[in-house]
């Protein structure tokens, strides 16, 4: 055991002391935070949220056009479409588009409405404008048919859906964006880290083999000790990196981000604004009438972390660590076996392919499940039970809430899975590390598994 400990130490220290590790550990969260903030900044309503409206129909549609946070309708300057266009061109950076109701526009034909813009107007914005116009026009039609304003307002159905997760005690509210985003982020992280660090294990083994230090090592330690020492040492490197990243991102998002994100404008509304209440009870009480996604905090600093309230943070972090480590142990032992079996890293490619297929498959399926499907459906369930796919599939499901028995079952299966692959990999490793100059194929590998001694 003491020898494994020495090996873990060496593998850990040589990697952690590398410049590349320090650079990646420090820069990655900065880059990520930078990118996130950049996107958030870009997503914030720009000054070009105005749509100029030229109304030549005489129906006064403009008065009926209801703006939103991202969209404001202002009267166009100019007495003709041409003049309005010219004025719009001058005002362009401020105005996103020009909506033209031509002189011939009538409530009977609904024809001829144009949206002029320099370049393309995003689909999202087009659809918002179309909705506003349709709403305005139908109101006008309703008015024409004799209904008064009061009646129209009473007739209007404006329902906001507020999803409440009953499986959580006290009925926590679901922030769909946060849940989906977290699920997506978790699966991408598990996928990337298993891949990156699994390949590092493989490289490390291949390096020891091509350095010819293997035989010296083998005369001091058991092959299995060397393999496990390397795998665990690198696992410790990953965990260190995680810890650094978590701390840095927390610092950046709680200390730095509010300084950057808070703007004097009162109508700031970011997609990450969230409920201001934190206790479950008050959230539950206010749930029916306070749509979560509409809790603006005008002018105040934005707390990026508050959107994660309502997610099962404890089980997400615990589950993430467990399933990442389990998946890493399972895959990295196979990568170690590949590294041991080949002489040359270019030969490793053919063996890496079948090993990475379940990894890639579970990643793709998980992303699809997040986007379209049902995170508790049968596909997600079975993928999160099979040890080869569960590390990714299960962390994807974590933010949506997973029944405890499923977590436990999947965990046990994963442990059994990695014990099995580690045992198998150990058998290949033991033969492979001292085998030079032999082209290895699958038949050869399967024979190694049954070698004695």
């Amino acid at each position: 055991m003491e020898k494994i400990w020495l090996i873990i130490q060496r593998e850990y220290l040589t990697r952690v002391r590398k410049k590349s590790f320090i650079v990646v550990s420090l820069l990655a969260p900065l880059l990520l935070a930078g990118a996130t903030l950049g996107i958030a900044k870009l997503n914030m309503p720009s000054s070009a949220d105005e749509v100029a409206v030229y109304d030549g129909s005489g129906l006064n549609v403009l008065a009926r056009l209801a703006g939103t946070d991202e969209l404001r309708f202002v009267p166009a300057v100019g007495a003709s479409p041409a003049a309005a266009t010219a004025a719009f061109k001058k005002a362009k950076p401020k105005q996103a588009a020009l909506l033209v109701f031509p002189a011939g526009f009538s409530l009977d034909t609904n024809d001829g409405v144009q949206l002029l813009a320099d370049g393309n107007v995003s689909l999202n914005r087009q659809s918002n404008i179309r909705k506003a116009v349709n709403k305005a026009v139908s109101e006008l039609k309703l008015t024409r048919s004799g209904l008064n304003r009061q009646t129209i307002d009473n007739l209007r159905a404006d329902v906001e859906l507020s999803a409440v997760d009953l499986s959580q005690l006290g009925g926590r509210k679901n922030n769909v964006a946060a849940t989906t985003g977290t699920a997506y982020l978790l699966s991408i992280m598990v996928y990337m880290f298993i891949f990156i660090y699994g390949v590092q294990v493989m490289r490390g083994v291949a390096e020891e083999k091509s350095n010819r230090i293997m035989e010296v090592m083998m005369s001091s330690v058991k092959p299995f000790q060397l393999m496990m020492g390397k795998i665990l040492g690198i696992a410790a490197v990953v965990l260190t990196q995680f810890a650094i990243w978590m701390m840095l991102s927390y610092t950046i998002t709680t200390v730095v981000a509010p300084l950057l994100m808070s703007t004097p404008k009162a109508d700031v509304k970011t997609s990450v604004a969230a409920a201001t209440t934190s206790s479950d009870a008050s959230v539950a009480a206010s749930a029916p009438d306070a749509p979560m996604s509409k809790a603006p905090q005008p002018g105040g600093p934005v707390n990026l972390w508050s959107m994660f309230e309502g997610l099962p943070i404890g089980s997400i972090i615990g589950g993430f660590l467990f399933f990442f480590l389990g998946g890493y142990l399972l895959y990295s032992s196979m990568f170690a076996a590949i590294g041991a079996a080949v002489d040359d890293q270019t030969d490793a490619q053919q063996f890496m392919f079948p090993v990475t297929i379940p990894l890639i498959l579970s990643y793709i399926v998980s992303i699809n499940v997040i986007i379209n499907g049902d995170p508790n459906g049968p596909l997600a369930f079975w993928l999160s039970m099979i040890p080869f796919t569960s590390p990714i599939a299960m962390v994807m499901r974590l933010p949506f809430g997973v029944p405890l028995w499923q977590l436990l079952l999947s965990g046990v299966l994963l442990v059994v899975g990695f014990i099995f692959t580690t045992w198998l990999a150990g058998r290949i490793y033991r033969v492979g590390v001292l085998m030079y100059g032999k082209k290895v194929n699958y038949r050869e590998l399967s024979r190694w598994m049954f070698y004695k001694g």
Binding site: R212, I213, S219, S220, G453
Partner: protein
Amino acid sequence: MNNILQAIDVHKAYAAHVALNGVSLDIPERSIFGLLGPNGAGKTSLIRIITQITGADAGEIRFRGEKLNPSHIAHIGYLPEERGLYKKMRVGEQLLYLARLKGLSKADATDRIKKWIDRLDLRPWVSKNVEDLSKGMQQKVQFIATVLHEPALIILDEPFSGFDPINANLIKDEILELRERGATIIFSTHRMESVEELCDNIALINRSHKVLDGPVGKIKDTFKTNTYEVEGKGRLMVIHPDFEVLEHKERENGHFYDRIRLHHNTTPNDLLRYLIGNVEIHAFREQIPSINDIFIRRVQETMPETLETANTLL
């Protein structure tokens, strides 16, 4: 004399071939033992069994009388034929790491590393990465790593291959010194002439079989053919019932070179007496067979069918 290591009827087979077929050896304490034979004879397989990298299929290895077990790893130092170190690790750290894997405490290891570093003039290189060292320096580091834990048994596979002559001599001296201090050394090599003068005992292995073993002097005596080399001047016409001329070379100015075998019960002095009466003698010496010659003769006698392969490999 006690044996530090005994191999008793060791068998080892791989999927495609038999590497060791009933090999038995006795390696005396405080000696230099040559494990000789062509490439592929089974030397490395035997060494890997002794170093516990692999296990024997049948037979037993005893270390100081005990059945070989993991506790013996700390008493064995092994320099493999394929040398290698962690390239991106500093010399000092690397030595410390390898020593601690052999069970040395950190303090002990540090202490001994200092001594060896000074002894082999590596002081300026201690905190350099191994990859920044010259090949000769790397080999010194590797040698230190092999002996740092003061093993009772040191196994050197092809010890002088790759060493430049200066380092080879340095290492040779260190090896003799280690024996003085009580270590036993096993040399494994296919270049028999390179270790001949160093070995006290040898074993010859060919095609997974041991063909010969014993003290070098005794083996050489056994394989002496009573043949003498004579150089001189004059006309040597030997047709004598007691000797037989195996080879006769005429050289310029009436010089000659002969190889003469004495028949049974004839002494070298008899030959000398005869020569003095007939020619002028410049040189007279007994022809001692080299280990290489002995190996080939032995293989010829015991497994003539493998001779050709043995010859081409030697």
